[in-house]
Symmetry: D2
């Protein structure tokens, strides 16, 4: 039985995230998934703040990296990050609700390029993230099994 | 009274980190500080793991970003990250003891470039981080005050 | 007498490029200019080819860098590149007509971020370029003088 | 007959550059080659200057990219650039003699990471270049043939 691209994306992401302690521990929510695309949400909490009372850049990156990871794993082919870059355009503050939208820019047989835009609740751009992925030659779930 | 470059570096970093919930919350330890240089340590804990049972790239980045932040703030001039990039060369696993060494590559009046090498307990290189900083025109502490 | 943003952009770029031997020597044409935006064209010539008979990545970068330079200098404030990155997505071949479109992503008082998309005559994306600029505190032309 | 790593590097680079119009046209000289390493030289000529009378960043990048290309092709496995980034630390001027030293940082079965430092005749660092390479599964020359 064939499954649709959209089904494949949703089941891939479910398989990817079910044991992801990092993404869960930071309270990230998956708002939308399509092949090569996702939208994630994360709220800035007290423990994410640096000494300047703004969100540590590492947590902003982590949100972008998770969105990138979801998007590049949405084809039922396990993929890992080989490199990434981030532009910090504006600070994020306590209780900000950050949204990360990841879009595939290029996906070859092995390597992919994904851009992520991170905005806050006022639609201000906080950061631009760009990630390069590498497929490792395994599926995330068995497509011959029915969805659970 | 003049203070030495080394004193300035140590007092800058103390001022920077004393209220940094993110760096403290991840259990990072500052092993060494010099002007433009630092060595930090972070252990990979359960909550840093992703769905592949390796350390989420965001936490590796966060370690690199903290080391970068310490090094670029070691001159008693508040500096923030404007952008950064990271190369993921090998995975990190649960209980790995990661060391990040940050070194200034270039520091002008306003902008700086810092490279960070992240290795594990077997001296294997896990990631290379490169950060660009921007000074915002304020000191981190008052040099006319005696150290506490 | 006030000049419009569009006039300022056009006169800035004219001042920028009139003595630019590199851009002229590569036969680049400015197809469009607006504040923070430009579209440039460059044909791939024999002397741009590498040993694989494709356009040397350096010339693709140079096109992107020139488009970035035009866009970030379109505000009559001299700006230079502090860093840049490029993703090579597909090769370019002899006689390809490459188009580079540069768009401002962020422009502060001093620093800016610009994205450039480079496509070929079949609208295939050849490369994505991202540049960071830094204003050096001088105008490109005297706005009190009439345009020539 | 086995050939040494050093022989392989020298013959790979000879095969790579013999038809490279771009590298030859810019007058680049290969000063040294080892497996994963090279040192190239390029003089800044009139036609490389931009409107600010400094070397166009594109030509500095091109030098770095060529050095990267030589280093990542020194194993007799054809490799192409997938992405690169450059930090412009100081301007280069007419008649400057630029040296680019490329060093492998990581080389897997398929992908590699190379750092290039570009200095001028006074040993001042002009730029830092970082390139990611991708092997395409072909040799550059036939190792069973004797060297010419």
């Amino acid at each position: 039985m064939e499954i649709s691209d959209q089904d494949r994306a949703e089941r891939s992401v479910k398989a990817l995230l079910q044991d992801d302690a990092a993404t869960q521990g930071l309270g990230m929510q998956v708002l939308a998934v399509e092949p090569g695309f996702t939208r994630l949400k994360m709220c800035v909490t007290q423990h994410m703040l640096n000494g300047f009372s703004t969100c540590h850049g590492g947590y902003i990156f982590t949100l972008g990296d998770s969105a990138f990871g979801v998007a590049c794993n949405s084809f039922n082919q396990m993929a890992v990050a080989s490199s990434a870059s981030i532009e910090f355009l504006a600070p994020a503050y306590l209780n900000d609700e950050l949204i990360a939208e990841a879009n595939v820019q290029s996906q070859g047989r092995k390597t992919g390029l994904y851009d992520v835009v991170i905005t806050n609740q006022n639609n201000k751009t906080i950061a631009l993230f760009r990630g390069r992925s590498h497929r490792i030659g395994k599926p995330l779930f068995d497509e011959s099994e029915p969805a659970q």
